[in-house]
């Protein structure tokens, strides 16, 4: 019966419709990915034809002390970002997962920074954190605290920029957590309450374990997201002071479009790919230890 209904279906049909997308994917994604791998073995500067260098770019990279600093900066930024957005995203979601008046307003308010341009966010925060004239500096002064140079001190700048990114993006993860929270049947929490569990205990024993698929999703996405920090760094610190906020993505940009060292930059990009890939694989590998899909 069923066969007859779909008699017009031929196996090759979907490919006809997929064709435009596949062409786009091959030309604009897969193509550049392969070509940039090849470029990473050359000294291409766009202007002249590329010369094959073998592993020279990778060698230069691993022998340069600046690279290790960039690498450390990248991991530090990611660590702060992933922890930050996961914790703040969850806290905001818990706050907003209550049936009170005006929740819709707060939901959109907390989401606003996500859709605000990184450049605007960067400028506003530079003003807030500015020495002498910044509002935070003035407020801290009022209560007798001497404000540090948030963006000018190499030991603070990276953390500051990462936290600004956390502030900007927490709203996005809040929405994901909120969806996860609303999927947890109220009956389970009710049962726990009846059995005498307090609020904290219900949260840690019921809500959090049942939220693990969402948490896993948030971690996967935020790990990948944590490496995309170019815009904010460009807008606020431009890699400084003293290389302290220079990350892999920023260094890729500098080498490619400021120094025109496409080969070296592609090598850096492949290191970045390896790091993101490893962390994501690690996350997936660890998943079965803590993610619970069943109630």
């Amino acid at each position: 019966m069923k066969q007859k209904q779909l008699s017009w279906y031929k196996k090759q049909d979907p490919w006809i419709f997929l064709f435009p997308t596949i062409v786009g994917l091959v030309f604009f994604r897969v193509g550049p990915i392969i070509v940039s791998f090849l470029i990473s073995f050359t000294d291409w500067d766009i202007l002249r034809d590329a010369r094959f260098l073998g592993l020279e770019n990778y060698k230069e990279l691993f022998l340069s002390s600046a690279f290790y600093q960039v690498f450390r900066n990248t991991l530090t930024f990611s660590f702060i970002y992933v922890c930050g957005v996961t914790i703040f995203g969850l806290l905001l979601a818990l706050l907003l997962n209550q049936k009170l008046k005006g929740m819709k307003f707060f939901r959109s308010a907390f989401y606003t920074p996500v859709v605000t341009s990184a450049v605007a966010v960067g400028i506003i925060w530079s003003w807030i954190l500015s020495p002498k004239y910044g509002i935070l500096t003035i407020l801290l002064n009022k209560i007798g605290i001497v404000s540090p140079y948030w963006l000018g001190d190499p030991s603070l700048a990276l953390t500051t920029v990462a936290l600004i990114q956390v502030w900007k993006m927490s709203g996005y993860y809040m929405i994901i957590f909120l969806a996860g929270l609303q999927n947890i049947p109220e009956s389970l929490r009710e049962a726990a309450r009846i059995d005498g569990a307090g609020k904290l205990k219900t949260f840690f024993k019921i809500t959090l374990p049942l939220l693990t698929p969402t948490t896993f999703f948030v971690l996967s996405i935020s790990i990948i997201d944590s490496f995309k920090n170019f815009e904010l760094i460009y807008a606020i610190t431009r890699g400084g002071p003293q290389n302290s906020t220079n990350t892999l993505v920023y260094d890729v940009y500098l080498n490619a479009f400021v120094y025109y060292r496409m080969g070296y930059s592609s090598a850096l990009a492949y290191i970045l790919l390896a790091v993101v890939g490893l962390l994501t694989a690690f996350n997936f590998y660890g998943k079965k230890r803590w993610v619970q899909y069943q109630y």
């Binding site: 034809d49 530079s126 400084g240 002071p241 940009y253």
Partner: protein, 439 residues
């Protein structure tokens, strides 16, 4: 569904895409007209460029110019790709920093014979043409300079009046400058922090090299192509960094992190400032009438005689692959000469076309500063720059501004690096880049 119907749907989807490709190949009509491609890096000048082109086309029937304007951010990437593909536009904007790289890779048309035989040399500041020659590191003219950019000292007249200091003039020395900077540094509202600094600078090229050259110094040994600051250059660097660390007459970089660097002076947070002459434009728009300000030559260093200026020309270049060299030359000469008007040159840039620079229009009387004549005098002086191959990388420019040599100087004035270790770091970093480029 019939197979024809499926193909039809697939075609419908693809049709807009094919239409896109089809467009390109229609313009090859049989007319005799020469069509020149001209690439400009200034979107703000688009309509004025169009007016200029119209005038050119009327005066030169048979030549048509097609203008392409590209945002400065993308200009260099795009034009490098065109150069790689040997499809450079016939005429295009070229900045002084790329002259060496482009001329040595055969990407610029040698204009020497045109300049020798087909240019009225009394109409142009010919030392700018010499600067182009020097920058290219060759004996040929590979570009046509249309405007000079130089550096000067900006000073806040109100602050000077209030402190009872006479305005800087061409006899000013570094000591006069330092004394003034110290006197001009003030905590106006008496809250314990400085509101008006005497001077403001950081590691930026225009902020450092200007002083190096005013002391007849040099950062790069051009024979060995190594970073090797001579004693005059080192004297300039320590003079500047001492203004922050010892004299407390200038802020550290981190102190000013909320300002756009070019806004510190016009917002009144520093009474003196040295940067490119194009800042006249920004000062006018940011300061408006709120402060009175003027420009002066850089104070003379102990070993300088005031004859050496930090300046470089913006140029037009012609593609070596052009099919219409004569037409391209005519257009270049027009666009850099009689076709140019003052509203096409940022206030502060100095046209190389003398009738324009020496006209009333250039002096902008009625606007600040009231002494733009000073820039004309500078246009005749000897010029030096720090440009090399990969200059932006070792110097720390644009998006790399907080790195490179710029970052090292910032490290000194922010007290992150001590003077000796900073210079050591600079030598290592700069020479790594130079060694890669000059093997």
């Amino acid at each position: 569904m019939k197979i024809t119907a499926k193909i039809l749907i697939a075609l419908l989807i693809l049709l807009p895409a094919t239409a896109l490709f089809a467009n390109g190949s229609q313009d090859s009509g049989a007319s005799e007209e020469v069509v020149l491609q001209y690439w400009s890096w200034d979107p703000e000048l688009k309509s004025r460029n169009e007016t200029m082109i119209e005038k050119f086309e009327i005066a030169n029937p048979g030549i048509k110019v097609e203008l392409t304007t590209i945002e400065p951010k993308e200009y260099w990437t795009k034009i490098r790709i065109m150069a790689n593909q040997k499809k450079l536009p016939d005429v295009f904007n070229l900045s002084a920093g790329y002259l060496e790289e482009w001329s040595q890779n055969g990407l610029l048309f040698d204009l020497s014979s045109f300049i020798e035989s087909d240019l009225n040399k009394n109409d142009f500041y010919m030392n700018l043409f010499d600067a182009v020659k020097d920058l290219s590191g060759t004996d040929s003219y590979y570009a046509f300079p249309y405007a000079l950019v130089t550096t000067c000292l900006y000073y806040n007249k109100d602050a000077f009046d209030e402190a009872g200091i006479s305005y800087p003039d061409s006899n000013w020395t570094w000591d006069d400058f330092r004394d003034a900077a110290i006197k001009l540094t003030k905590d106006i509202d008496r809250d314990g922090s400085i509101d008006q600094w005497g001077y403001w600078f950081y590691g930026r090229y225009a902020h450092i090299e200007s002083w190096v050259y005013s002391n007849n110094g040099s950062l790069i040994n051009r024979d060995a192509m190594k970073y090797a600051p001579d004693s005059n250059a080192l004297e300039a660097i320590s003079f500047l960094t001492d203004l922050v660390l010892k004299d407390k007459a200038a802020p550290s970089k981190k102190e000013m992190s909320a300002f756009r660097q070019q806004d510190v002076f016009p917002q009144g947070a520093a009474a003196m400032f040295v940067d490119g002459s194009w800042n006249i434009d920004n000062n006018r728009s940011v300061a408006g009438d709120s402060i009175n300000w003027g420009i002066a030559e850089l104070p003379k260093g102990p070993n300088g005689d005031g004859s050496l200026t930090y300046g470089w020309p913006d140029s037009l270049a012609i593609s070596p692959n052009t099919q219409h060299a004569d037409a391209a030359w005519k257009f270049t000469r027009f666009a850099a000469g009689e076709g140019l008007s003052m509203d096409m040159v940022m206030a502060g840039k100095i046209p190389s076309y003398r009738p324009l620079t020496e006209s009333e229009a250039f002096l902008d009387k009625g606007q600040q500063p009231d002494n733009k004549e000073l820039l004309i005098a500078q246009a005749g002086e000897e010029m030096r720059t720090s440009f090399t191959l990969s200059w932006g990388e070792w110097r720390g420019y644009g998006a790399a501004e907080s790195l490179g040599f710029n970052g090292v100087i910032d490290g000194i004035i922010d007290s992150e690096l001590n003077y000796a270790e900073a210079l050591e770091l600079a030598e290592k970093n700069v020479n790594t880049v130079l060694d890669r480029n000059y093997k």
